[in-house]
Symmetry: C2
Subunit: 219 residues, 2 copies
Amino acid sequence: MMGVMTTRAESAAATRRALLDAAAELLDLGGPEAVTLREVGARAGVTRGAPYRHFTGKDSLLTAVAAESWERIGDQVHALRTDPALSASEKLRGALRALIDVSRNQPHLYQVLFRRRAKLPGQLGDGMDRIRRQLCGPEGDPAVADRAAERFQDEFLDIVAALVGERNARHYGALLLTSAHGIAGMELSGHLDTDRWHTTADELVGTLVRMVTEAGEMA
Amino acid sequence: MMGVMTTRAESAAATRRALLDAAAELLDLGGPEAVTLREVGARAGVTRGAPYRHFTGKDSLLTAVAAESWERIGDQVHALRTDPALSASEKLRGALRALIDVSRNQPHLYQVLFRRRAKLPGQLGDGMDRIRRQLCGPEGDPAVADRAAERFQDEFLDIVAALVGERNARHYGALLLTSAHGIAGMELSGHLDTDRWHTTADELVGTLVRMVTEAGEMA
DNA sequence: ATCATACAGTTGACAGCGTCATCTGAACCG
DNA sequence: CGGTTCAGATGACGCTGTCAACTGTATGAT
């Protein structure tokens, strides 16, 4: 077929890549429940046990997929921020739209991006050890995903700072980000019905940006 | 032990109640994955097959739990709205806090409340029928949960209308609700770090309400 | 050139899961 | 009193994530 794989490192890297791609594809198609290690392995040309050579388990695999997606979004927002042809307002709107686009085009991935990080033990007895380990256990390397997400946040923060000033950037940045996340989430879950609310996600983002811009200029 | 259960209807109703309570408890403890029909049945004093006499499956059971929670939240907001001792602003802040309180005290339940409703088929082949059926199938009666959620939305809408007028109520209501949802969600997922953003969920809600109130008075 | 090692990948096995078909027994109703 | 209904019990099936044990080959030192 294509280029021969001789060295073990190359082969392993290719397998890891194929596993990540297969997991991302299955995630898009049917959500985290459809991401089966057996099916992921099959699509990557290996068997069910192979993923455990690259990830500590299913959760680790999904976390890695999320990390790559955060990096991709971070790159996208970075390109927006450093584009001299765009106004500050356009950059902000673009960054928020980037997030909402993910929630529209890859809703399952979007939910994985905002999975809760720190999970508490809780009290569940008997044969619930599987759940407990899955909740508290050392799930892959969430630190990588966290760092990628924080890179996106930093890029976003810089865009907001250029609009409302460094002083209020963090407060208004948090407000913009959380609100856009909520708009995306409710649209995704079907709770933002246009007939009921007489508005759309895009209109809400527009109002939000306008209100924050005005408030930021006053301060 | 306690009151004797003679009639079949009483017994069935008691079992259904016990199933719902057990499911809610397990949901709080370990999320949807910890809600096992076997464990739910055990805690309700029945066996694994019994829940299928009251719900079409696990998803239907969780939907029923969500419906009851929405009704509870709706009652709570209704009480706020009709409380003559509260100002319109206080009512709004209280309603938003009611939602955020759920996300703090019962994070897993909160996520179930905002699970996506309409799910699309998608293209996944081979042995993925389980996923497909779970995604598209007739999952219990989501209509009940939808109606309960819409009741909450109506109550919330009335509160907003009293503050910004009937004309802009829907637009600003949607903005307030989605934003609060996003604040709750990001706090829940750990992406709203106080050290990073130099703000808290409560401060964000305060700013949000203030901005919307000012914008609504202008219009 | 040879050999021991590391290690990606395979395989077998296990417990737990959701779900259905089948069966049972007691409450129901004519 | 006898038939029916139906909540619940039980057996079975295929699926899942996970791990222990195994295999074979590229690697690196000799």
